[in-house]
């Protein structure tokens, strides 16, 4: 503790207190301005982020709905009734073309 006290009590032979104080005040001003600027940019980027996230969520929701419809269609395509209807349709069109001749 005594040594630490000695450190604190050293005599400066080159006076820079004034220069140091002026620069410290400038640094504080700049630091404050930077905080304000950063806060503005942070809030505006946050708004953008919320917007983008909302758009993304909507797109994901639509995507899920489309996926569900695709699955439904695939199910229909794979059913026996659909296959029978497709065969019947082919036969009917064959008959129609023969009758036309």
């Amino acid at each position: 503790m005594a040594d630490q006290a000695a450190s604190d009590e050293v005599t400066n032979t080159f006076d820079l207190d004034g220069v140091s104080l002026v620069q410290a005040l400038r640094d504080v001003e700049v630091a404050n301005a930077r905080v304000i600027d950063l806060t503005k940019r942070l809030t505006s980027m946050n708004k953008e982020l919320v917007k983008a996230t909302t758009a993304l969520q909507k797109a994901q929701l639509r995507n899920r709905q489309l996926d569900a419809r695709i699955k439904e269609l695939e199910k229909i395509e794979g059913s026996r009734a659909f296959r029978s209807a497709r065969v019947a349709g082919r036969l009917a069109s064959g008959v129609r073309s023969r009758l036309a001749k």
Partner: protein
């Protein structure tokens, strides 16, 4: 500039570092002032080591060096800014910002000022064993180079080679950098956004470049730099890291092309060539001044005299190279092995001090015959398997 003799403030930034700072102060106190007026000040950034500041203040007083302890710790960028502002406010022409773990050659200030007077130059970094990518490679700088006389002689050799030439570099390094106070007024000081330090000088350099100033390295002046002393002490960087990643990210954000510019500079070959000529100049000067020893063997000798250049050549003469070693610097020269005696005499301007035959071979015999009085057979079994 108001006077013909430039007025220079050497601001040494300090944060603890009892192990090395006295050596730096001794070195600063003997800087040659025949061409320049130099004031030295230590900016003690509220070093927390018990009693250190009082001892540092006493060391400064004993050497006629100014001392200023900040009321509280500022961090490197703001402490450096204090040095820059002191130079501006107190009417100096130039400020040199320096670390506290260095050894200056006597001519450091006059050499840096001359380089700083080159057209368009805004800042000049001294050359060193430890100055980021520009370093002059050395096997063990702390062992071989941390000595005032050695630093003086290496720097003198580089001054002979390069004079007051400057080399444009991508960014300056504030371990020992000279900046004109006019440029400080124009570009400003270090940005405190870099917190406790690292990358602030890169940012400052790039701001100075944007303002139209050249960023230069003075190859004609060599300052020994132990490196990272205070920052390791302060826990700013850890043992394996050489920078602060978050500060590097700020540089990437502000200057997206900086890294590619550094890569382009590194691959341009300018630096490699400068380093090659520098080591060549150091070797030649050391050999001329203190002599050289020819070691004939398969491997460099394990025990060497630090003050002479050791030239190792293979015993059979089939390898057309000779490896020169001096205080941790290494240079490989291409020679006709059987004309090596003449080649080295021409290179160093004198005969060798000794010829040590470590291994037998045709070249060993030839050299033994050429220098019978100097030859000593020192080997036993072949060094190479």
């Amino acid at each position: 500039m108001t006077s013909s003799r430039p007025k220079v403030l050497l601001a040494i930034t300090a944060y603890n570092g009892e192990a090395f700072i006295e050596r730096t102060l001794d070195s600063a106190a003997r800087i040659d002032t025949s061409e320049v007026d130099v004031d030295v000040v230590v900016l003690d950034d509220a070093s927390p080591a018990p009693g250190f500041s009082a001892r540092l203040a006493a060391m400064c007083e004993a050497r006629g060096i100014g001392y200023y302890r900040t009321p509280r710790n500022l961090g490197i960028p703001r402490n450096v800014s204090l040095g820059l502002l002191a130079g501006v406010e107190k009417g100096y022409d130039y400020v040199i910002i320096s670390n506290s773990d260095v050894i200056y050659p006597a001519h450091v200030v006059s050499q840096l000022v001359r380089a700083g007077q080159a057209k368009g130059v805004g800042s000049v970094t001294a050359w060193s064993n430890n100055v980021s990518m520009y370093s002059l490679e050395n096997d063990d700088p702390d062992r071989y180079l941390a000595d005032q006389e050695v630093v003086d002689s290496i720097s003198a050799a580089l001054a002979d080679q390069y004079g007051d030439a400057v080399m444009d570099i991508p960014a300056g390094i504030s371990f020992c950098v000279l900046i004109s106070t006019d440029v400080i007024r124009d570009v400003g000081v270090m940005d405190p956004v870099f917190g406790r330090g690292y990358c602030e000088e890169t940012d400052w350099s790039l701001r100075s470049l944007a303002a139209g100033y050249r960023i230069a390295l003075a190859p004609g002046v060599f300052v020994y730099h132990a490196g990272r002393g205070s920052n390791l002490d302060a826990g700013l960087v850890s043992g394996e890291h050489t920078s602060v990643p978050e500060n590097e990210r700020i540089i990437d954000l502000r200057y997206p092309t900086f890294r590619s510019q550094v890569r382009a500079f590194a691959s341009s070959g300018i630096l490699d060539e400068a380093q090659l000529y520098a080591i060549d100049a150091i070797m030649r000067a050391a050999g001329r001044e203190s002599g050289y020893v020819l070691d004939v063997g398969w491997l460099p000798p394990t025990e060497t005299q630090d003050d002479v250049v050791h030239c190792t050549v293979a015993a059979n003469g089939l390898e057309e190279t000779v490896e020169l070693r001096y205080r941790g610097f290494v240079r490989t020269m291409e020679v006709d092995a059987f004309g090596i005696g003449e080649a080295l005499e021409e290179y160093f301007g004198r005969a060798p001090e000794a010829v040590n035959l470590h291994d037998r071979g045709k070249l060993s015999s030839t050299l033994g015959e050429r220098y019978p009085a100097l030859t000593v057979r020192t080997g036993n079994y072949p060094a190479r398997v």
